[in-house]
Each structure stands twice: as structure tokens, then as C-alpha cells.
């Protein structure tokens, strides 16, 4: 009986403990492997990302490179064309150069001849120039002397004229002074005459008035005789007045 109990007990205790230990062991059994696998997977992920980066960047750079290559090919073909153009141009240039060289040489020869000719001419002209320059210098000196003399004469003449003018001015001045004195005198005379005239006018007025009284008396006596007398008396006064006015 006791044995049976122990058997029961063994089962009852063993099963949960086994289950528990099994589950716990399962949880830890593969820890080492899983760590390694995890590490490998991690490395795989990092490496695959790096690889993707390189591949994609490489892809873009390849495309860019291809584009540049294409452009390069176009440039190369155009370069070839340009080179052939350059060749043709160089040939033409050589020919031109030869032609121009020939022309140049001809011209050079001509030039040399011209230079020689021109040297003689230049010499001649230089001599002529010197002569002319000398002549011109002499002429300039002469003219300068003439000018100097003329200037002296001119100054003298000028001084003479100035002196003459001064004399004339003095003469004129004295004439003007005399005339002014005459004018003054005449003015004074005029004033005197004006005053005399005034006095005479006054006198005339008085005389007139004196004349008018006898006339009235004569009118009362006869008008015609009195008028003729008056005319005779009036004429000397009128004459005097005219003189004064003059």
C-alpha cells in the first residue's frame, strides 16, 4: 500500500516538475544558437544594406558615367571632325603662308630698294631741309630785327604822337578855357543884357503906360492922328525889344 502511495506521489510530483523544468529548459536551451543566428542575421542586414548602398550609388554613378561617356563620344567625333578641319586649314594655311612669304619677300626686296632710294632722298631732303632751316633762321633773325626796329620806331612814333597829342590837348584845353571864359563873359553879358532888358521892359511898360494916357486924350480929340503918332513912338520900343531878344 505504501509503495502504491509513493508511486502516485512520484507521478504527481514528477509530472508538474518535469513540465516546469521542460518549459524552462526550452526557454534557455537554444539561447546560444539563437544568439549566433541573431548575430549572423544582424551582420547580414548591415552588410546587405551596405551592399544596397554601394550597388545603388554605383548604379547612379554608372548611369552618370555612361552619360558622360556618351557625351565624350560625341565630343570625340566632333573632335575628329575638327581635327580634319584643322588639317585642311593647316594645308591651306601652309599654302597661304608660302604665298604670303613670297609676297613678303618681293615686298621686302621692293622695300629694300625703296629704303635705299628713300635714304638718298632723305639725305637730299635733309640737306635741303637744313638749308631751308638755315635760310628760314636767317629770315627769322632778319624779320626779328625788322620787327625790333619797327617796334622801336613805333614806340618813338607813338611817343611823338602822344607828345603831339598832349600838346594839342593842351592847346585845345587852352582854347576850351578861352572859349569857356568867352562863354562866361557872354553869359554874364547875357545876364546883364537880360537885366537891362528887364529894366528896359519895365521902362517900356512905364513908357507904355505913359503913352496910353496921351493916346486916350488924343482919342478924345481924334483917333487917326493919335494912331500915327503912336506908331512912330512904338517902333523904337519894338526895335529895342528885338535887339534884346537877339
Amino acid at each position: 500500500m505504501k509503495k502504491k502511495v509513493i508511486v502516485y506521489y512520484s507521478y504527481i510530483v514528477a509530472i508538474p516538475i518535469f513540465l516546469l523544468s521542460f518549459l524552462l529548459s526550452c526557454a534557455t536551451m537554444n539561447t546560444g544558437d539563437s544568439r549566433l543566428i541573431d548575430q549572423l542575421k544582424a551582420e547580414n542586414r548591415v552588410c546587405s544594406q551596405n551592399l544596397n548602398l554601394f550597388m545603388r550609388e554605383n548604379d547612379v554613378l554608372k548611369a552618370e558615367n555612361a552619360k558622360y561617356k556618351k557625351e565624350n563620344n560625341v565630343l570625340r567625333s566632333s573632335n575628329t571632325l575638327l581635327k580634319s578641319d584643322i588639317g585642311a586649314l593647316q594645308t591651306r594655311y601652309k599654302n597661304d603662308i608660302a604665298m604670303w612669304d613670297e609676297r613678303y619677300n618681293t615686298l621686302q626686296q621692293k622695300y629694300d630698294v625703296f629704303v635705299k632710294q628713300s635714304d638718298a632722298k632723305v639725305q637730299e631732303l635733309t640737306e635741303l631741309n637744313k638749308t631751308l632751316e638755315k635760310r628760314m633762321a636767317d629770315e627769322i633773325a632778319r624779320l626779328n630785327e625788322v620787327i625790333r626796329k619797327q617796334e622801336v620806331d613805333f614806340i618813338k612814333e607813338k611817343e611823338t604822337i602822344i607828345n603831339q597829342n598832349a600838346k594839342k590837348e593842351m592847346e585845345y584845353q587852352s582854347t576850351i578855357d578861352a572859349l569857356q571864359k568867352q562863354v562866361t563873359t557872354l553869359t554874364q553879358e547875357k545876364e546883364q543884357l537880360k537885366s537891362k532888358l528887364t529894366e528896359m521892359e519895365i521902362t517900356c511898360e512905364k513908357l507904355k503906360q505913359q503913352l496910353e494916357v496921351p493916346q486916350k486924350d488924343q482919342t478924345l480929340r481924334g483917333g487917326d492922328k493919335g494912331t500915327a503918332n503912336d506908331v512912330k513912338k512904338e517902333n523904337p520900343a519894338q526895335q529895342l525889344k528885338t535887339e534884346l531878344e537877339k
Partner: protein, 702 residues
């Protein structure tokens, strides 16, 4: 007099507007960008490309006025689809053509892959800066960059945000980590000063509080240019510029879609003369811009070629969101809960022909998917995280049931969500890496079942789960008394040698889904002292409940009791009890009230008894490690034709347990048993106090 006044006013204005021209200060003009996010458009129209617009602005700025350097403040490489496709190479091309001198590695940039960034940046003129991203305790990127202007050296240091999440593969392979930046910062500042740097500028992706702390602790730093991850929030207030009392400043440049121009005066300390943001589209005819456009277009063409193949045709119109993707994870990994980070997925609508470009557009962080287990307590802890999107966990329930603190739940999540969870729970949670990126899961689904297009994911809650909860409580007492027969026994001491041992073991094997729960519980309670059986109960229970209400649900229970070992009479009585009733759950309380019958079928066979069952359990955890449990199991019964007598079987247990480890507890238990048999009506009472070491193991099978 008037002319003198005009001259004085003009001079004052000129000095005010152009101080650097009037005084002998060197100036430094910096172009800065941030959060460019690799935001290339996918069409080859340069006019509509947001980043090419930024490039035009920078090139125009450079041609209009002298610029000393161009720095980027982080988050330039991700999550833009083209940038991620190129593993950052397209953005490095961008930086190369717009003559970027240095860029800070932001938290989102690391999603491209540290090694990829490091490889792609080799032989490039743009320096990637970060002092605190380290591999084997050495910075993987350059910690600083030195600008030399008219014999004056200005050092730029990069500090990456602590929000950075590294790909688990890089963590494993490269031992990459985000180090505490302070140690490296001290070292770097000393190096820069030794190299003759008069001014030190930090490019920071840190938070506002961290930036202020750095300025406080490192007076050698003249200026912080924050951006990328920095939000410019200081004490809950947005402040794009903070001037410290000693004249130094922290500038936060957060705007994207253009570039900042920062003009500094290099006096005794750096002072800020002018900052402005420019996002106007400019016309440029720069050869480097044309080359940039050509290079970017090549990337776009390659990307279009790679992503043009159709993954699905005639795909029904479906809104894809973080929740949808979380459902998809739960679908494929049969987890109870799936979690994605809010930044993992870009919500969009898919329809018609779907290509991998669409998948790339959806997946912002293409990390691999993790599966692991979280306790109910941990789930409760992370439930408040605004950055996490859950599937299968809502309102504190998983598959319709309130989560239990000590129960483990199967989780499938993205790596970014996992990192957030570890950060919140302050614990490194063991996980299994599926090594399948999120984009592959979506791609495979689109090619095959197209589960992502389902309108209803409630079938996920109908999946059958199985748990096994094992409770082992054992005792062993071997007392050896050595004495003579004539000797008297001291008071309180045993008079004879005895051996007492026993165990109380049970296992709850549960199968359940959102609406059904079936629990099979073998239970053994066996204790003996020498040849005497003190407890000898073997019980099997089959319990089914239909879950339709959070609090009250109907149940059916079949229970069979027998003895573990037969006694000398060789009898094995078997007692069946069948009950139906209602179970209820509320907070710490669970209980059942039911009616049924009880019948002993053999040794001896007895008449059928009809009765009512009441089972109550109260479990109150306290002080982290303690648990008080109250159990009441009562069955009152009477035969069909009875004279009014009742048979009562009641058991009350009070248990106080101290958790030693998650699977081991020390318990003190008081048990009171009352039995009033029908025939004799002579009551039997039994009281027991037990101290035991309990092994508790909870397994989630699937």
C-alpha cells in the same frame, strides 16, 4: 548748422545699421538648414521639388553676398523615400553641390543606418558631425569641424539628440550606442581650444533644457545653434532665441522648406547681428545647380525603375494608418497586442495598382519587427505613451478582458516602439527579432492575402489563446524524537518521531478568446503524516464562461472530486458537481453564483443533491511584494425529496503571500472548512494554518 545735424543723424543711422563696417569686428555669415528630411519629390520636375527649391535659395544667397559656411542642423536624411532608398547618398550629393560644410546627425538620420551614412560620406566635402554616436566608445562621425576666417578659427561641435534609435543590427554588429555627450563634449572643447579655436559653436539636437544646462556648464561655448530635433520649447514656451545673462545665446532654427541666414559678429564673444529665414523661390543659372538636378534626377529614375513593379493590382481603396499596420502585425505574428511608434507609419490612402514606392511612402522607419512578452503591469505603464499606437489593447483590456498585472502578454512591435517601451519601463525586455523589416511585411501582404485591406480586424480578438498557470505549494516536516519510553515529553514538544509532508498543487489550463473562456484545472491537495492521510483530495474542474459583459457573465462548471490514494478500505469515492450561474468581476473581486447538483457516484453511490454554489475571491496586492487573498467556496444542497435538511460544504481561505521572485512566493494561509452532512447533520469543522513556499508559474502557450 543744419548740415551738421543731418551728418550726425546719417552717421548714427549708418553705425546702427552697419556696425560691422564701422568697427573693426570680423563677421561670420552662416547659412543653416534643418529638418530637410530627405524630402525630394519623386517626379523629375525640378520646379516642384522642395529640396531643389531650397538648393536654389542657398545658391542664390551665396551668389548675392559672401557666405562663410553652410551648416545643417540634422534630420536631413530621413524619412524621405528617395533619401532612404539611396541610404543617404542622394542627400550627400545635395550637400556636396550646395557646398554644405557640415551637418549634424539627427535622431531620424540614424534610421538610414550609421554604417551606411559613414560609408556614403567618405570622400565627401560635407562633414557629418556627432560627438555622442559611438562605436566601441569612439565617435563614428567627426565630433567637430573648424572654420578658418581671416586667421580666426571657429569650431563647430555636433551633439545628436538622445531620441535617436539605432537599428538593432547595428547595435549588435557595430556595438553602436548613444553615449552621454558630456564626457565627449569636455574632451572636444579642450581639443578645439588646443587647436587655437577662438570661438566654439555647438550644433545641437538636444532639448531646450539640455541646451541651457550645456551653456551653464560649459562657458567656453559661445553659441548654440539648435535645430533638427530641437523644438525651441523652453519651459513650455516656444522661444526661438534665448539670450543668457552673460551675453551668449541659444538660437533654435526649426523651420523647414527654406534656409536661415545668420550673421554673427566676432567680438570678444559672439554676438548675433541678424537672422532671417528665406523660403522664396529663386532663379539660378549656376552650373553646380544644373549638375545637382542631373544627379538627383538620376536617383529619381533609378528609384522609379526599382519601385515601378506592381505589388498589387486593383487594390481596393484603403486608408492605411499606424493602427492598420499594428493590426497587420497582430495578424502575422498572432500576438495579443501589436504596437507601432507613431513615427513609423505615414498615413495614406492606397488604391488601384500598388508599387513598392507606395510601401516606401507608408513606412517611415523600416526597422525589423520584434516579438516579446510584456506583463500586464508593463502594459499599463506604457498605455499612457502618446507616441505608441496599439492594436488589441484598449481601455485596459486585451481580448476583451481586463489585463492582469502579473500575466504576460505576447507583443509584436517595431523596433522603434520597442525602444520607447524599454525606455518607459526602464528595463531591457527580452525579445525575439524576426529580422523582417516592416516594409517586407506590408509588401508580402500586398502580394498575397492583402489583409491590410480588411475593413474589420475584430477577427483578431477571436483567436484562441492558451495559458497554463501552475501553482505548487509543498511542505515537508521531518521531526525526529529521541527519548526513552519512560521519559516525559516536555510541554509543547512532540512525543514521537514523525514525518509530515504534503503539497497543494494546481494548474489552470485556459483556452480563451474575446467571447469564450474554457479553463481546465487539475487540483491535488495531499498531505500525510506517517501513515495517516491528513489531506487527500484530487479534483478536476472544467469551467466555461461566455464573455459578453465586462462585469457579469454566465458560466458552467463541471467538477469532479476524488481521493488521491485510496485508504485501507480501498474505496474511491467520486463526487460530481455540475453548476451553472453567473460570474462577476469588479476590481479586486471575482465571484460566481450558481445553481446545480452534486452527486457521489461510487463508494458509496449517494442520492443527487441540488443546491447553490457561491464562490468569491478577493485579491488585494499591496506594498509591491505583498498579496492578500480571500477565498470562499460554499455549496448548499439538499436532495429532491427532502424533509428540510441541507448539506453545507464551505471553505474559507485567507492567504497572505510575499513575492520573492516572479515565480516564487512565501505564504501564510489560514483555512477553515465546514461540512454539515445531510444524513447526520453533525457538523465537521477543520481549521488549518499553513506556511508554505509556493511556486507560481504562468505560461502563455499561444
Amino acid at each position: 548748422m543744419g548740415l551738421r545735424i543731418y551728418s550726425a543723424v546719417f552717421l548714427f543711422c549708418f553705425v546702427y545699421v552697419f556696425p560691422s563696417y564701422c568697427f573693426a569686428y570680423e563677421t561670420l555669415t552662416i547659412i543653416a538648414t534643418g529638418n530637410l528630411r530627405g524630402n525630394f519629390s519623386l517626379d523629375t520636375d525640378e520646379k516642384t521639388d522642395p529640396l531643389l527649391k531650397v538648393a536654389r535659395g542657398i545658391i542664390a544667397e551665396r551668389s548675392a553676398k559672401p557666405v562663410d559656411c553652410y551648416v545643417d542642423l540634422g534630420n536631413a536624411f530621413s524619412p524621405g523615400a528617395l533619401s532612404r532608398y539611396s541610404y543617404g547618398a542622394a542627400m550627400l550629393d545635395f550637400f556636396e553641390y550646395v557646398q554644405c560644410d557640415a551637418t549634424l546627425v539627427g535622431s531620424r538620420d540614424v534610421a538610414v543606418g550609421l554604417k551606411n551614412l559613414e560609408l556614403a560620406s567618405r570622400m565627401r566635402p560635407t562633414q557629418l558631425l556627432s560627438i555622442n554616436i559611438v562605436i566601441d566608445n569612439k565617435p563614428i562621425f567627426k565630433p567637430y569641424w573648424i572654420l578658418q576666417k581671416a586667421g580666426t578659427k571657429v569650431g563647430f561641435i555636433g551633439i545628436t539628440s538622445s531620441k535617436s534609435i539605432f537599428d538593432v543590427a547595428e547595435k549588435k554588429v557595430l556595438s553602436a550606442s548613444l553615449a552621454a555627450y558630456r564626457d565627449y563634449l569636455t574632451m572636444t572643447i579642450e581639443s578645439l581650444q588646443a587647436m587655437g579655436c577662438k570661438y566654439i559653436i555647438v550644433l545641437s539636437g538636444l532639448s531646450g533644457a539640455e541646451n541651457i544646462a550645456i551653456m551653464k556648464d560649459y562657458p567656453a561655448i559661445d553659441l548654440i545653434l539648435a535645430g533638427g530635433d530641437a523644438s525651441g520649447i523652453y519651459y513650455d514656451v516656444y522661444s526661438p532665441r534665448v539670450d543668457l545673462e552673460d551675453g551668449r545665446s541659444i538660437i533654435t532654427l526649426v523651420r523647414a522648406g527654406g534656409h536661415y541666414s545668420v550673421r554673427l559678429m566676432l567680438k570678444e564673444k559672439i554676438t548675433i547681428e541678424k537672422i532671417y529665414f528665406s523660403e522664396a523661390d529663386q532663379k539660378v543659372s549656376d552650373s553646380s545647380y544644373n549638375e545637382l538636378v542631373e544627379r538627383v534626377n538620376l536617383w529619381k529614375e533609378r528609384y522609379a525603375e526599382a519601385g515601378a513593379a506592381a505589388l498589387a493590382d486593383n487594390f481596393p481603396a484603403t486608408d492605411i494608418s499606424s493602427v492598420t499596420i499594428a493590426h497587420l502585425l497582430r495578424h502575422y505574428y498572432s500576438s495579443e497586442v501589436a504596437i507601432v511608434d507613431v513615427t513609423d507609419v505615414f498615413s495614406t490612402r492606397l488604391e488601384g495598382t500598388i508599387t513598392s514606392i507606395d510601401v516606401q511612402r507608408i513606412v517611415q522607419n523600416d526597422f525589423t519587427v520584434f516579438t516579446y512578452r510584456l506583463s500586464g503591469k508593463q502594459l499599463n505603464t506604457i498605455s499612457s505613451a502618446s507616441s505608441l499606437i496599439f492594436s488589441g489593447f484598449a481601455n485596459g483590456k486585451v481580448q476583451g478582458r481586463s489585463i492582469e498585472g502579473d500575466r504576460m502578454y505576447t507583443i509584436a512591435s517595431t523596433q522603434s516602439a520597442y525602444d520607447v517601451i524599454c525606455d518607459m519601463t526602464h528595463k531591457e525586455i527580452p525579445y525575439t527579432n524576426t529580422w523582417i523589416p516592416l516594409s517586407d511585411i506590408i509588401t508580402n501582404d500586398l502580394k498575397s492575402k492583402q489583409s491590410v485591406a480588411r475593413k474589420d480586424f475584430s477577427y483578431l480578438d477571436k483567436r484562441i489563446r492558451m495559458t497554463v498557470d501552475i501553482n505548487l505549494s509543498n511542505l515537508y516536516d521531518n521531526s525526529d524524537v529521541t527519548t526513552d519510553d519512560s521519559a516525559s515529553t516536555p510541554p509543547g514538544m512532540p512525543s514521537e518521531t514523525y514525518k509530515k509532508w504534503g503539497f497543494e498543487d494546481s494548474a489552470d489550463i485556459s483556452f480563451y478568446n474575446q467571447h469564450h473562456r474554457l479553463v481546465l484545472t487539475p487540483y491535488i491537495y495531499y498531505m500525510r503524516q506517517d501513515d495517516q492521510y491528513l489531506q487527500n483530495l484530487l479534483r478536476g474542474t472544467l469551467y466555461y464562461t461566455y464573455l459578453f459583459n465586462p462585469y457579469v457573465n454566465p458560466y458552467h462548471k463541471s467538477q469532479v472530486d476524488t481521493v488521491v490514494v485510496t485508504k485501507d478500505d480501498n474505496l474511491r469515492p467520486i463526487l460530481f458537481r455540475e453548476t451553472v450561474g453567473a460570474s462577476f468581476t469588479y476590481s479586486y473581486f471575482t465571484g460566481r453564483f450558481g445553481v446545480g447538483f452534486e452527486k457521489q457516484t461510487q463508494d458509496p453511490e449517494e442520492q443527487m443533491l441540488y443546491g447553490a454554489e457561491s464562490i468569491l475571491q478577493i485579491q488585494i496586492p499591496f506594498l509591491d511584494y505583498f498579496m492578500y487573498t480571500f477565498n470562499l467556496d460554499n455549496f448548499i444542497s439538499r436532495p429532491e425529496n427532502n424533509n428540510g435538511n441541507y448539506q453545507i460544504r464551505t471553505e474559507i481561505k485567507n492567504t497572505l503571500s510575499v513575492t520573492v521572485t516572479s515565480w516564487l512566493a512565501l505564504s501564510i494561509r489560514h483555512r477553515w472548512f465546514y461540512y454539515n452532512p445531510l444524513e447526520t447533520q453533525i457538523s465537521y469543522k477543520y481549521t488549518q494554518i499553513l506556511i508554505s513556499l509556493d511556486v507560481k508559474a504562468k505560461f502563455k502557450v499561444f
